[in-house]
Subunit: 362 residues, 2 copies
C-alpha cells in the first residue's frame, strides 16, 4: 500500500472558546495543549507526520482563515491549504479535497481528520489509523469509534453491528449513526458495550468516496467534475467562488456515511477528547492538589477545580479566593468567567456581543 493522503478539517470557527478564540483565530489555531506553544492543528499534523508524507497533506479551511492557517504551517507548500469560499459543512469540503487528491492518485487511501481534537496516546492512535488505512485500501469506508468513558450527551454515537471476521475483535460493521442522546440514553450507551463516540475520522480510497458522492450527492459530484475541468484550465478558484455557495450544505456523516451499508468501525482507545469547551481543558489538566488547572504565578486560596487560561501577559496574576468550578479566560481585551458546567454556553456571550455590534470582540 502506498502512503496515505490526509485531509485535515481546519475550517471550524470554535465559538465555544471565546474569548481565547476569535473569528480570526479559531480553536484549531490556538495553543490549547498545556505546556505547548503549538496550535491544535500543528499537534494534529505532528501526530500523523510519520504516516503521511508532507506533500500528501491537505488542510481544508476557509478563505477567511487561509493566511492565518498558512502562517502557522511554514513548512507546507501554499497549495496544501484548500480554502473554501463559503462554509458548506463537511460533504462539499471533503468531496472537493478528495477530488483534488484523485487528480493525482485516483486510488489513493485518504484519511479525514478533525484538526482540533486531543489524543493522549499518539502511538496507539497511529496504530489504529494504520489499520483503518489498510482496511480502506481494500475498498471499504472506515471510521474510528471511541470507547465512551462517560454518558456524554454532546456527542453523536455509532451503534455497532456484527464484528468483522478478519478483525482482531475490535472492528465491526456500523449498525447506525445515533444523534446526540438524552442523558438516560447516554447512560445506557456508555454501559451496553455496543455504542462508540463518533470521532469524525474517516478513511477511504479516493475513487470509492467519489463513487459514493456520485451515488448519494449527484449535485456535488457534478460540481466536483466542474472543479476538475476548471483546475485543468487554471481557473479553479474562480469556479469555486461561483459554485461553492450552491453546494448542498450537508455533513459527510449525513450525506454519505449514514447511507453506507458496509461502513466499518474500528474501536479506538487512545485517550481522545474533542476539546469541545473550556471544561475539556480542565479535564485534561494538569491539575494541582486542589484540582485547579492554572499556571504557577496565579494565587489560589480556598479555590477548587478551577481553570485559569491567561495569555495576556506572563506577569499578569489572577487571584481566586473562595471560588470553585469556574473557568476564567483572560485575554487582553476580554475576560470571561463561567462555571465549568456552563462552558458549552459560551456562544451566548458571542451572540450578545454581536447583537450589540461589538464586532471587535467576536
Amino acid at each position: 500500500m502506498s502512503a496515505p493522503y490526509a485531509i485535515i478539517l481546519a475550517g471550524g470557527s470554535g465559538t465555544r472558546f471565546w474569548p481565547a478564540s476569535r473569528r480570526a483565530c479559531p480553536k484549531q489555531l490556538l495553543p490549547l495543549i498545556a505546556g505547548s506553544e503549538a496550535s491544535l492543528l500543528e499537534h494534529t499534523l505532528a501526530r500523523i507526520a510519520p504516516l503521511v508524507p508532507t506533500e500528501q497533506l491537505l488542510i481544508a479551511t476557509s478563505t477567511r482563515l487561509r493566511e492565518q492557517t498558512r502562517a502557522r504551517l511554514p513548512g507546507l507548500p501554499e497549495s496544501a491549504v484548500l480554502a473554501e469560499p463559503v462554509a458548506r459543512n463537511t460533504a462539499p469540503c471533503i468531496g472537493w479535497a478528495t477530488a483534488t487528491i484523485a487528480r493525482r492518485a485516483p486510488e489513493a487511501v485518504v484519511m479525514v481528520l478533525p484538526s482540533d481534537h486531543y489524543v493522549a496516546d499518539t502511538r496507539l492512535f497511529r496504530e489504529t489509523v494504520e489499520r483503518a488505512c489498510a482496511l480502506a485500501a481494500t475498498g471499504s469506508i472506515v471510521t474510528i469509534g471511541l470507547w465512551p468513558t462517560r454518558p456524554e450527551t454532546g456527542y453523536g454515537y455509532i451503534e455497532l453491528g456484527p464484528p468483522l471476521d478478519q478483525g482482531r475483535g475490535d472492528t465491526f460493521l456500523c449498525q447506525k449513526f445515533v444523534e446526540k442522546p438524552d442523558p438516560k440514553t447516554a447512560l445506557e450507551f456508555v454501559t451496553n458495550g455496543r455504542h462508540l463516540w463518533n470521532s469524525g475520522m474517516f478513511f477511504f480510497r479516493a475513487d470509492v468516496l467519489l463513487q459514493r458522492i456520485g451515488q448519494h450527492l449527484p449535485s456535488l459530484a457534478a460540481a466536483l467534475a466542474e472543479f476538475d475541468r476548471a483546475a485543468a484550465a487554471g481557473e479553479e478558484e474562480a469556479r469555486l467562488a461561483e459554485l461553492f455557495p450552491e453546494l448542498p450544505n450537508v455533513s459527510i456523516d449525513v450525506g454519505i456515511m449514514e447511507r453506507e451499508s458496509q461502513l466499518l468501525v474500528i474501536k479506538g482507545d487512545f485517550g481522545w477528547n474533542d476539546l469541545g469547551s473550556f471544561a475539556s481543558l480542565w479535564e485534561l489538566g494538569p491539575r494541582d492538589g486542589a484540582g485547579n488547572v492554572a499556571a504557577p504565578n496565579h494565587v489560589l486560596i480556598d479555590a477548587e477545580r478551577n481553570l485559569i487560561l491567561s495569555r495576556t501577559d506572563p506577569t499578569r496574576t489572577v487571584a481566586l479566593l473562595g471560588v470553585s468550578d469556574l473557568c476564567v479566560i483572560d485575554t487582553p481585551d476580554a475576560l470571561l468567567i463561567v462555571p465549568r458546567e456552563r462552558a458549552q454556553d459560551v456562544r451566548e456571550v458571542l451572540r450578545q456581543l454581536e447583537a450589540a455590534g461589538r464586532d471587535d470582540l467576536s
Copy 2:
C-alpha cells in the same frame, strides 16, 4: 464660635481593596464612588468644605503616601499634609495634629474624620457635624454614632447612656465602647435601640484633647511638647523621625475615648458606609435589574448580584455567564475573583503574594 479645624485620617493601607488598591495607592486615594473620578479623600474634603476653611485642614498620612496624597490635593498648601514617619495607630497621629493646631489656636474646635468612608446625605451629615462642633466648643468631647441598619459583626459599637438634657433627644452620654460583637450580640444591638456603630469621628477643643492626653498618655504628651519645641526651632521633621517610633501604638478610642467619663454621642443617620470591602461597593450600587453593579460595556448572562470593577481600559469587556454574587476586580497586572461574602478576606491574597516575594503586586 470660630470655624473648626479638621484632621482627616488618610494614612490607611486599605489592603481589603487589592488589587484596586496598592501600597502606593491605598483605598482613600481611589475613585471608589460610582460615577465620580474623585478619590474618597477628595469626597471627604468636599463634604466639609463649607464648614472648614482650607487653611484649617490637616491631612494626616504617612511619609510613604505624602507625595501621592499631595498630588491628589493641588489646592492645599504643602503644610496641610502631615506625614507620620511610621504608623503608630491613631492616638499619636491625632495627638500630633491637634498639637499642631494648638500652636496656632489653642481653643480651636477640631473634628477628626476618616478619609475613606461614604456618606449618602451630605446635608444631614453637615448638620450633624455642626452640632457636634457646637457641643465640642463648650468643652465636651463628642463622637457621632451611626444608626445600625444590619447586625454587622465587623464594626465596633457604642452603648448609649442617659440622654443629654439640652439635646434634641439624639444626644447621649456614652455608656461604653463595645468591641466587634458576635452575630447573636450584633442582632441584639441592631434591635435594642441602645447601640450605635462607632464612626471614628471625634470632635473636641484642641486644649481639651491635649489635657486628656496629658492625663491618660503622658509619654505621648511629653513627645508632643518636644515636637512643639522642635517646630519652634525648625527641626520638627528630624525629631518626628526620631521620636515617633517610640510613641505608644494605641488608638484614640482605647487611649482616650474609652476612658472619657463624659463622652457625648450624637446619633447620625445620614446614610453612612465605611466601604470596608468590595461588598460595600456592591451595596452602594447602582445595580441593574439583576442586581449587578457593572459598567454597561460588560456582558452579563444569567448573572446576578455581581460587582465588576474594571479600570484597565474602558474598551475591555468582562463577560459573566451563569455566575452570581461575585466581585470581579480587574486591573492591568492583577485580576481578583472573590464571592461577595468572602470579600473581607482579600488580605489573605496579599499575604500569599508577599510570602511569594511578589512585591510588584502589593
